[in-house]
Point group: C2
Amino acid sequence: MTREIPDIVIGRLPIYLRELTRLAEDEGKINTSSHELGKRLGISSAQIRKDLSHFGEFGKQGTGYHINYLIEQLRDILHLAKEWDVVVVGAGFLGHALANYHGFLHRGFRISWIFDSDPAKIGAAMGDLVVQSIDELETTITANNAKVAVIAVPANHAQEITDRLVSVGIRSILSYAPIHLNVPEGVEISYSDPVIQLQRMTYYL
Amino acid sequence: MTREIPDIVIGRLPIYLRELTRLAEDEGKINTSSHELGKRLGISSAQIRKDLSHFGEFGKQGTGYHINYLIEQLRDILHLAKEWDVVVVGAGFLGHALANYHGFLHRGFRISWIFDSDPAKIGAAMGDLVVQSIDELETTITANNAKVAVIAVPANHAQEITDRLVSVGIRSILSYAPIHLNVPEGVEISYSDPVIQLQRMTYYL
C-alpha cells in the first residue's frame, strides 16, 4: 500500500465526488470549476486544484472541469467502478436503518448480508435482506470474497467481531461501536460515533 | 469564539474522554499515563501530552494522570458538565435508531424531541419519545432554549431544516444527510455519511 498521497487528500475526494454527482444529476450541469465547487463545499479552489493535481490533469484553463469525466476519474481513483458487497454485523436499530438506507445505491456499495447473534432476529426480513446467524459470518465472507464490513454491534462485542472479520479477509471496516478497535496493518478502519461529534462541537458553545 | 486551539486538538479530546471513561468504569483503573492511553488509541504519547498541555497541567511526572480527575477536567473543557437537550429532525429508520440509542447516556446529551413531517409518524412512540409535528419545531426549540440538533432527513430537505434550526438558535448540528450544508458563522456543523467513509477506504483496496 503506497501512502504517497496524504490521507486527508484521499478523504476529500469522496466529498468532491458527491458534490459533482449532485451538480450533474440534480442540477443537470455539464461543466464546473474549482471555484464553483469550492464555494459550494466551503473549501478553497486552490485546495481542490492541488488535491486533484495528485492524480492528473482533469480540467482545462478557462473551461474548468467536465463534470461527468471528473466523476468517472474519481470513481476509478477510489475503486468504485464496481460495486462492493458490504457485510453488516448487528441487526439492531442501527443495522435496520443501514439495511433500509438507499444512500449506498450508485455510490459503489451494496449491503449484501446482515448478521446477528440473537435467535429472535435471525431469519427476520430487513430491507431486502434476511438476517443471518453470526455463525455463518466467516463462511459467507470467504465464499463471496467480501472485503468491506460495517460494525453495528455494542462496544463490548466490537473487538471480537473485528478480529473475526479481519481473519477472513475483510480489509475496510466502518464501525459504529463507541470504542477504539485494533486492526492489523493493511486493514483500514473508520469510526462513526455521534457523541464524539457532538462533544467536539459543544466545546464551542 | 476563540480559535486559538486547533480544531483537530479539540476533536481528539472526546476520544480521550471516551477511553478514560472505559478505563475507569469498565476496567476499574484509577491512574493512567499518556503512554498507556496512546497505546490503546493508536496515538503517540507525545501527541496526547501536547494536546492536553493546551488546557493545563493534568498529570504528574512518574504517576501520570488520575483518571477521574482528568475525566472531570475534559468534561468541563468540552462543556459537558450539564446534559444538553438534543433535537432530532426526521423520524425515519435512522431517527428511530437515534431515539433508541443508549450511547448518549452519561456522555453529556439527551435526545429530548424528535420531529417529522409525515402525518403517519406524528404521534408514534420512539424510544421514550413521541414523534412531534415539524410544525412545532421552532416553538419547541425556542421554549427550551435548545442549542444542539441532529438532522436525519433526506438530502433534499436538509438545507431547509438547517435554516429553520439556525433561525431559532441551534448552534451545533450533526447531519446524517449526504449533502454539504451552509451555516452562518458561529454555528458548528458535523457530518456523518457512511458512504463517504467507505469510499475513503476503498481507495486503499
